[in-house]
């Protein structure tokens, strides 16, 4: 009954005689005949190595052989050949069978693994191809990034150089202009460009070019302004929190601080009057507040300024920043407070 079940099994099976010389085949089932393409009489009495061919892995054969010699069960996967010479992948378990006298037979059940193997090979090829594509794409992207980074550096370099050229142009022209309104205007412009330059330099010197630290700007701006003042008479001080603002706000804020400070220095201290200007900036609930206070002659006492470019500029910039500005006589001096909304707390 068991033999009948084996004979009808769809799994190819073979039994060899362990006691006969060279371990010959003594029984095969129909499934084995179907797999190999041989007839029963072509197989009986012969060793299983008849199924091996040029693609069979000798190391795997040696491993099976060693197990058989030792009388131990073994599982293996071997490339075998049909009668017509076509190869197939055979996964087999070889089990030694004992009777009273000892080792009598080897029983081998097999499975055709050809399709599995083919799938594996296809998968491997597909994987290799995918990996190659990913590597190529990564390479392209890295190259593109490198190119863009180089371009960014180049543009940054040109902007800085051009700011320097513009500033030099203004100052050269100012030097060649007789003292007076025109010269002051040119110098004033050069100073505005200087403030913008400082903002630009700070924006791109750090790794993060999306934010601008107002505190850093203020300290550098302060040094530049104070370098041009007679320390005995006038002084600019600042108390600016290290507020990080969006990069787009850097230039308007730099201009704003410059303009208000320059305005105070220009108008608050006539006739070499002594005094100081203090700048503060702090975070508020909705954004930031910037204040500029001087202890000079005050708004009402300052001579009327028909051009009023500085003040105009300030109000335009405040509008651009969607802020509000209040000018007040602080008695003594002038007090300007600007509230600017900041989009996200940073």
């Amino acid at each position: 009954m068991l033999v009948d079940a084996f004979a009808r099994s769809l799994s190819p099976m073979v039994i060899t005689d362990a006691r006969a010389p060279d371990n010959p085949i003594t029984w095969v089932n129909d499934a084995f005949l179907g797999l190999t393409g041989f007839a029963t009489d072509e197989l009986l009495g012969r060793n299983c190595r008849m199924l091996q061919g040029p693609g069979t892995d000798p190391a795997e054969v040696a491993r099976i052989h060693a197990a058989i010699e030792a009388g131990e069960p073994v599982t293996a996967e071997l490339l075998n050949y049909r009668k017509d010479g076509t190869p197939y992948w055979s996964a087999m378990t070889v089990t030694p069978v004992h009777d009273e006298a000892g080792l009598a037979y080897f029983y081998a059940a097999q499975a055709d693994m050809t399709h599995t193997r083919e799938r594996e090979v296809t998968m491997r090829v597909t994987n290799d191809e995918l990996e190659r594509l990913v590597a190529a794409r990564t390479h392209d992207l890295s190259a593109a990034l490198e190119q863009k980074t180089a371009l960014l550096h180049e543009v940054d370099h040109r902007v800085k150089n051009n700011l320097q050229v513009i500033s030099s142009l203004m100052l050269l022209k100012a030097r060649r202009t007789p003292e007076g309104e025109a010269r002051d205007a040119l110098q004033g412009m050069a100073e505005r460009i200087g403030a913008l330059s400082t903002a630009h330099r700070m924006l791109y010197s750090e790794g993060d070019c999306t934010h601008f630290n107002l505190g850093d700007f203020a300290s550098e701006f302060l040094s530049d302004v104070n370098a041009g003042l007679d320390h005995e008479k006038q002084r600019v001080e600042a108390e600016v929190e290290p507020i990080a603002v969006a990069a787009a706000m850097a230039a308007p804020l730099a201009l704003l601080i410059h303009e208000l400070t320059a305005n105070a220095l220009r108008h608050a201290f006539p006739n070499a009057r002594e005094g100081r200007v203090s700048i503060t900036a702090r975070r508020t609930q909705s954004g930031m507040q910037l204040t500029i206070r001087d202890d000079g002659v005050g708004l009402a006492a300052a001579p009327p300024n028909p051009a009023g470019f500085g003040r105009n500029l300030v109000e335009m910039v405040v509008r651009q920043l969607r802020g509000t500005i209040a000018w007040a006589d602080a008695g003594p001096g002038t007090y300007v407070a600007i509230d600017i909304p900041l989009l996200s707390p940073t």
């Binding site: 040109r158 150089n161 320097q164 100052l171 200087g194 300290s219 041009g228």
Partner: protein
Amino acid sequence: MRDGNAGADAALRILVVEDEVLIALELECLLDDLGHVTVGIAGSSAEAIALGRSAEPDVAFVDIHLVDGPTGVEVARALASDPRITVVFMTANAKRIPDDFAGAIGVIAKPYSERVVASILDWVADRRAGRVPTHSAPDGFSFAPAL
């Protein structure tokens, strides 16, 4: 400039290596205001190295990008090999400066302010006169790591 403190003893002879004529010209005026002497303006590396030998500068301001390309680094190296010359980079392209600064003492970042140029020259003058420089590095200036 108003706070330039270059007295007669501190007047420095300065070589300007800069291919942008307007910048070079303005810088020359500024140096003059500060009481220093511009001994030459060079736009190319060959000119710069030749002037370094013939004009006996105390200080050389060197841009990285010159007429003949990013040759400012080798100019700095050549000039700094003369122990009498103090080399300062003055560039918008500080990323190109090698780790050893090619012998330069530091870099003034463009766009620079007049104050930075003035304080660096004060610092150099102090050091050359054997005084301990009283000025710390101003914003917009970075010392070479070796200093």
